[in-house]
Structure formats: structure tokens, C-alpha cells
Symmetry: C2
Subunit: 454 residues, 2 copies
């Protein structure tokens, strides 16, 4: 295919590696891969069909294997793990940070996890257990239990000398966490204070005791909101007794934000963000059955309503030609309201406090657009079929359906959430069922009364 | 409304502030607001209908006004600016960082911008001009031109003493940027090296010359991918001559990622992420006309095809009852493929290098699911109407439409992009037009041939 004017980085890397593989020059492909980070190679692997993916995987520097396994999504990880020996897997995951290891722990074969656990010291094993004991999408599941903490009574000079002796810093280092002897969190101590305050003063002199902490059971989506709201780079995670359990850093939060976004978009189409884009059709096709089957049920419900009005469809064929217009306008208008609600609910901006106001506004929009498009569609119908009554009937149906669409678009997601059903997943189905049935009943039903009565 | 089990932070803040306002105790509302960050108040303002929004805005500490204006989306910002005097606006934006000021500069009244420009020194005015000269969604538009840079020949001790004398650090400080005398970028110097290496050694001894820089014209979405791929906290922005122009920090990138995600989701429903959720219906309704009108055209195209087959609809009313099932299954199946493609194209994971492989896989999925649902729907039709031929006709139509849906779902977004049309915006419309027309033609067309020929 022809090149686009601007080729994105991933597209470019994909093209170059694929070209190198296709021309059979493995050394060239290896050289290209050597210049890439673990996350870049992970993205590349996700973008390749299975045979090529495994060919690239063979060429990757084994040093990066562990980090790449952490980066890729669940199904792609399965495909890579399936291609590795036990020894390779142990070597790959042995050097991972505890929070990263925890992320992929459940996907590893038992033989590998037991070898890894046996090679750990007791403290690390306990820390890993702690992270694994929290849900993956909670603060506890996100946190790194390996924290650099300081006591309040040491001087800045001691801290600086300690860091120098240690020789390395945590991957994100804007804060040090201050704890008492029993591990209770006291406050945060800013890097800026470490570097600019009197080295003879103590940590307690400068630490910020008001800094908010992240409760260990906070859902990941709220952790993300907290980081965005407070422009955090790292934050302490504490339990109910205010013990410091770990830290969450911005790089993990960025992944949460990206995954959440993918989730809303894909879930609205009945897809799963952890799926492999190139999963074999034999396994991918059945995953879409549920969604298609649910839609089939709602489509047959609409057909059932049409069946009730068969005499009308039979006698006034114009209703059969035009009712899809009524259905489709309702579906589109309702989806706009629904999408606004789903987005707002995902970010927390739509809640009990403002749904009434939003409903009122969406209803007003539905009413206004209902009038506008009722007149337009009515006019077209009159011009097309030359029947004034048909035009009036379809206009009334459009108006009713657009108002119903606004109502359903605003109420359905709130009701689903109350029932603990993901509005992104089920909202569209319930909504179009409502607008289909109201659209058909209003149009073909009215037509039965007004036109057949002639 | 009843409380949910888990109330999200934004929901809680919204409820409390609304309750305080409703009960008329302004002091209480002020107290609640005093505990919130600028971004939190921004989210809150976006979540309130206009009268309450302005009531809260009056109560906000003027010190935060500028930062809040930066946080809220374009239409909400307009509503807040409209409520402020020139003096208030000048005071609000006077203390903003240059990159933040640049973000909202175009939204400010001319009188305000000229006052602000006049109060700036020449260097700042030039820097602001530079940021404003790049598109908002490019590295140049994102960067902060106010960079802390060092020369390669100074010792670490000098750097540490300089920072101490300065008394504050940049908001994200994991790197210092090393430049030569003419401002050319030489490399990055890590905080870890500053803190752990010999203070008598020079910056040049430790700086990383291989660190990638961000070209000033790189699109914001790629900047975000770069930050995610390399786990960056800050990065240098350079021009073609390798001059250091500014830095981009992770907090700005997080905003880009959130906005991009909103964009894909809302654009697929023909909405705009910069809109005010509570915009008056009079202004909100017309914005949705374009989308509804486009859909109306495609709905009438489907109706036009039905019109061609009016004799069939008239004589075999079962086709009128059942064709929405064929249309709707095609639409749903195609939307699944389309959503996968739109998501992949937004992240860069779908490109010329793998569309053929993806198309092949989606086609196989469409064929498999086509067979499964063709049999199912055919069976239901036979059971319902007791006509074997009707079942065979609808089964063939479903199969054809699901294959066409897979083809269209994969090809339409690629084609739109080649034409520089946003696939998220136009993909759904083009797709359902294709599946509607193919679905109707296949089912009602076949029915004309097979059933009317009886």
C-alpha cells in the first residue's frame, strides 16, 4: 500500500521489522529491535499476526523478555508464554519489580511461579502476597510494595549520604515517605526540600503532614482521577491503620488511564480490551456470539412488534419503506445522549447530584431536535408519497421517538449502574431496544389508526 | 436519589457542594471548596448547570482562578470568562506558567491579552510567541518554554549549590537538560546522577547523549505514545537545528491521553469533547443537527432501496417484518470490526503493515459468524412463518451481510484515513450505510426472485 504523508512511529517500526522479516534478513530485524524499549516491542508484538509475532519474539534480547510480558495485554501474553520453556520464563520474570511480577503472576505456569517463589527471601514473598491479595484494579493491586521510607528524626544530610551510598533512586523520585518506628505513615518529604533546605535540619522540620494518602482499597479509576487532580508523580498507599503499604507511581497510572479509555470504547461494541487483535478467527468469532445473540433477541423483539402491525404494513406499503427512518433517527439521537452519560459516569462527572439537571437538558434537546426533524421528515414523506396524513403520522412518530431517545439515553445508564451493570456494555442494547420499539409502535401504530381508518 | 454503595470522590464533592448551595449556606460551600485543588474545582464546575456553576465560581479563591481556567474544557471556560471583569481576568492569568497561559490565550478578550503582554518582559513575550506559533496539539504547543538547563562543564557541586540558591525546583524534576553556549541540546543529565555521583565530577562526565528528543512538530498523540513507551517524566523539545526550545512533562501528557480517549468515544457519536455538558439546549441541539442530518440521508438511502422492492414488501409482508433483523445484525457485526480498527489506528497499532492480515482475520470471523447466525435466523424464520424458502433466503442474506460488514468494518476506516477524514467521526455512518443497503438488497432482493417467482 502507498505510504501516508505522516507515518506514525509504531507504523514505521512495524513496517521496517516486517520488511526485514519478509526479506529473511534476521540480523537486520534484530538490529532494529535492539534500538527499541520493552514497551515499544510490546506494542509491535501486539500488532503482528501470530507467526510473525513469534518470529520477532525469538529475536528479542532475553533481558527484556520479562518487561515485555508485563507490557502486552492478557491474550498476547498467553501467546508469548506458550512459546517459552520453563527455564526461559523463570529467567525472564526473576528480575522483575514486585508490582510488575504481581501483574502477570496469575498467567504464569505453576512450575514457574513455585520456582520464583522459592528463590525469593521471606520479606519479598510477603510483599508479593500482599499485592496479590488486592484486586488488580485497586490501589493495592497497582502499588509497588518496595518503598524508600525515612524516619522523621534524621537530618537531610544523612538522607543525602544514604542515597549516595545506595547508588540508585526509585524510578519516580519526587517524594520520600516518612514513617514512624511501627511503619505508620507520617507524611511526605519533598525532593525539593531535600535539595534546597539546610542539610543540618531534620526531615520532621519540612515534611508535609497534610499530604493525602491513597487508601489501599481505592478503585484504580479513582486513583487515576486523584493523580490527575493533584498532578501527582507518586503517592503513598496506606491501610486503615495508616500503615504505609507501598507507593503508586504515575507510569502505572498512565496505563490505567489508557486501559480505561480502551475499555469504554471497546465495551460499547461488546469487545474486550485484553483480546489479541490477531487471535485466530476460530477463537475470536465465538467471543462475539454473545453480543450478536443479544442483538438478535432485540432485533426479533422489533420484528415481533412489526408482526403485530402486519395488516398495516401489508395495506400501506409506505409504512414498511419508511419505518427504518424512524427507528434509525431514534437510535442515533439516543446514542448521543447515552455516550455523554457513559463518558461522564466513567470520569465521575455524572452522578446522583446532577442527573436530574442533565436529564432536563437532554430532554429539551430531544424535544427541539424532535420538532426540527419531525418537520423535515414529514415534509419529505409528503413530497415522496403525496399523502399529507402519512407526513403527519411520521412527523409525530419522529417527535415521540426523539424525546423517548433522550429520556432512555439519560435514564438507561443510570438505571443499569444502580443494578451494577456496566452502562458501556449494556447501554446501547437496551437503548436501541427502547427506541426501536417506540419508533415502530408510534409510526406503524399511528398509521394503523389514522390511515387504515380512512 | 438513593446513595450508591461506593460514592466516587467527584460525586461526593458534587453532592456536598450542591447541598451547601441549595441550603443557602455559602460559607459552608466556600469551606468545602477551600479543600480542593484547581483541577478538582474545574471538574466540579464542568459537572454543574450554568446558574450553580457561576454561583460556585463566585466562591472560589481568586488565587486559583487562573489554574481552574486552564483545567476546564473550552465551552465551560467561555462560560466562566463571560462572568469575569477585565481586572479579574488579568489578575487570574498574570501568574500562570507560559505553557498554561498559551493554552487559554486565544479564549481571552483582546483587552486582557494586551494588558498581560505589556506587563511581560521581552524574553517571556518571545517565549510565549514561540509556543503560540505551534499547533495546540503538537509538541510545540504542549511544551513549557521555561527550561532549567545547564552547561556540560560545570561540576555537580555547582549544580547542587545553584539549586539551593534558587530555592525551588521545576514541577517535574527527573532530568536536567545540558546545552552548549548557543543553546544547542547536548544531552540529559539524570537527577540520580546528580545525587549519587562524585560532586567534583562534571555534568559532561555523566550526561546521557543518546537520550531521544521530541521534535517540536511531533503530533501530541505521538508525544503521548513516546512517554508511554519510554516511561518518561519529562523530555526535551528541540527544533531541526537541535536547539532546546522547551520541555514537556508527564502531567501535560496525561491530559493529552485523557482527551484523546474522550475524542475517540465522543466522536464516534458525533459529539465534541470540548462541549459543555450543560450547555443550554438552544445551543446544544443545533450542534447535533449535522450528525442527525447525515444519518437521515443514509436512512433515506435505505428507504430508497426498500422502495425499489415495494412490490415484494407488499406481496410478502414477512419480508417487511424481518428485514430489520438482517440490517441490524450487519450493523452490529460491522461496528465490532470498525471499533477495533478505530482503536488500533488511534494508538498507531493498525497501519499499512498489518491491515491485510487484519482484514483476512476479520473476514474469517465474519464468515464463521455469518454461517452460525444465518442458520439460527433461518431456523427462527422457518419456525415463525412455516416457509422453508423464506428461511433459506434470510439465511443467505445474513451470511452475505455479515461478510460485507467485516469487509466494510476493516476497509472503511483505512479508506477514510487515506482521504484524511477522521475514521472515528465518519466510520459508523459509512459502515451502516453499506450494511443497510447490502442487507436490504440481499434479503428483499433475493425474496423477490425466489419467493415471488413461486
Amino acid at each position: 500500500m502507498a505510504e501516508q504523508v505522516h507515518e506514525e512511529k509504531i507504523a514505521r517500526q512495524l513496517r521496517r521489522v516486517t520488511e526485514a522479516l519478509d526479506s529473511g534478513v534476521k540480523a537486520q530485524a534484530s538490529r532494529l529491535l535492539a534500538g527499541l524499549s520493552a514497551a515499544e516491542i510490546g506494542d509491535l508484538l501486539e500488532s503482528l499476526p501470530l507467526p510473525k509475532r513469534l518470529a520477532v519474539w525469538e529475536l528479542v534480547d532475553p533481558e527484556l523478555d520479562g518487561d515485555i510480558l508485563v507490557e502486552v495485554n492478557d491474550r498476547v501474553r498467553d501467546s508469548l508464554i506458550g512459546d517459552m520453556t520453563e527455564q526461559e520464563l523463570v529467567a525472564a520474570v526473576d528480575e522483575l519489580d514486585l508490582d510488575d511480577l504481581a501483574d502477570i503472576f496469575d498467567d504464569l505456569p505453576d512450575a514457574v511461579t513455585s520456582t520464583v517463589l522459592n528463590s525469593m527471601d521471606r520479606q519479598d514473598r510477603e510483599r508479593l502476597d500482599r499485592v496479590l491479595s488486592y484486586p488488580e484494579d485497586s490501589a493495592g493491586g497497582l502499588m509497588d510494595p518496595d518503598v524508600l521510607s525515612v524516619r522523621p528524626d534524621v537530618t537531610l544530610d544523612v538522607v543525602l549520604r544514604y542515597l549516595r551510598a545506595r547508588g540508585e533512586l526509585p524510578k519516580v523520585f519526587d517524594l520520600l515517605f516518612v514513617v514512624d518506628r511501627s511503619g505508620r505513615y507520617l507524611g511526605g518529604f519533598k525532593l525539593a526540600d531535600l535539595l534546597t533546605r539546610d542539610p543540618a535540619s531534620s526531615v520532621a522540620d519540612h515534611m508535609d503532614r497534610t499530604m493525602r494518602t491513597i487508601p489501599v482499597n481505592m478503585p484504580a479509576s479513582e486513583v487515576a482521577v486523584e493523580f490527575e487532580h493533584l498532578d501527582l508523580l507518586s503517592a503513598p498507599v496506606t491501610d486503615a491503620e495508616h500503615r504505609l503499604l507501598g507507593t503508586i507511581t504515575i507510569d502505572d497510572v498512565v496505563d490505567v488511564i489508557r486501559e480505561e479509555a480502551d475499555h469504554s470504547l471497546l465495551t460499547m461494541a461488546g469487545l474486550d480490551e485484553e483480546d489479541d487483535m490477531f487471535e485466530p478467527a476460530m477463537r475470536s468469532a465465538p467471543k462475539r456470539w454473545v453480543w450478536l445473540a443479544i442483538n438478535l433477541v432485540t432485533a426479533f423483539m422489533a420484528a415481533g412488534v412489526l408482526y403485530l402491525f402486519e395488516p398495516t404494513l401489508d395495506q400501506i406499503v409506505a409504512t414498511a419503506v419508511l419505518f427504518p427512518v424512524v427507528m434509525s433517527m431514534g437510535g442515533i439521537a439516543g446514542t448521543q445522549t447515552l455516550t455523554l452519560m457513559v463518558r461522564g459516569m466513567a470520569t465521575g462527572q455524572v452522578s446522583a447530584g446532577n442527573t436530574t439537571a442533565l436529564l432536563r437538558k437532554e430532554l429539551a434537546v430531544g424535544l427541539m431536535n424532535g420538532v426540527v426533524f419531525a418537520l423535515l421528515v414529514g415534509l419529505i414523506a409528503v413530497l415522496w408519497y403525496g399523502k399529507l396524513k402519512l407526513g403527519i403520522v411520521i412527523a409525530i412518530a419522529i417527535l415521540l421517538n426523539l424525546v423517548a431517545a433522550a429520556l432512555a439515553g439519560a435514564i438507561v445508564p443510570v438505571a443499569l449502574r444502580r443494578l451494577s451493570i456496566d452502562p458501556a456494555l449494556a447501554g446501547g442494547v437496551v437503548l436501541t431496544t427502547v427506541t426501536d420499539i417506540i419508533g415502530i409502535s408510534a409510526f406503524v401504530g399511528l398509521a394503523s389508526i389514522v390511515l387504515l381508518a380512512q
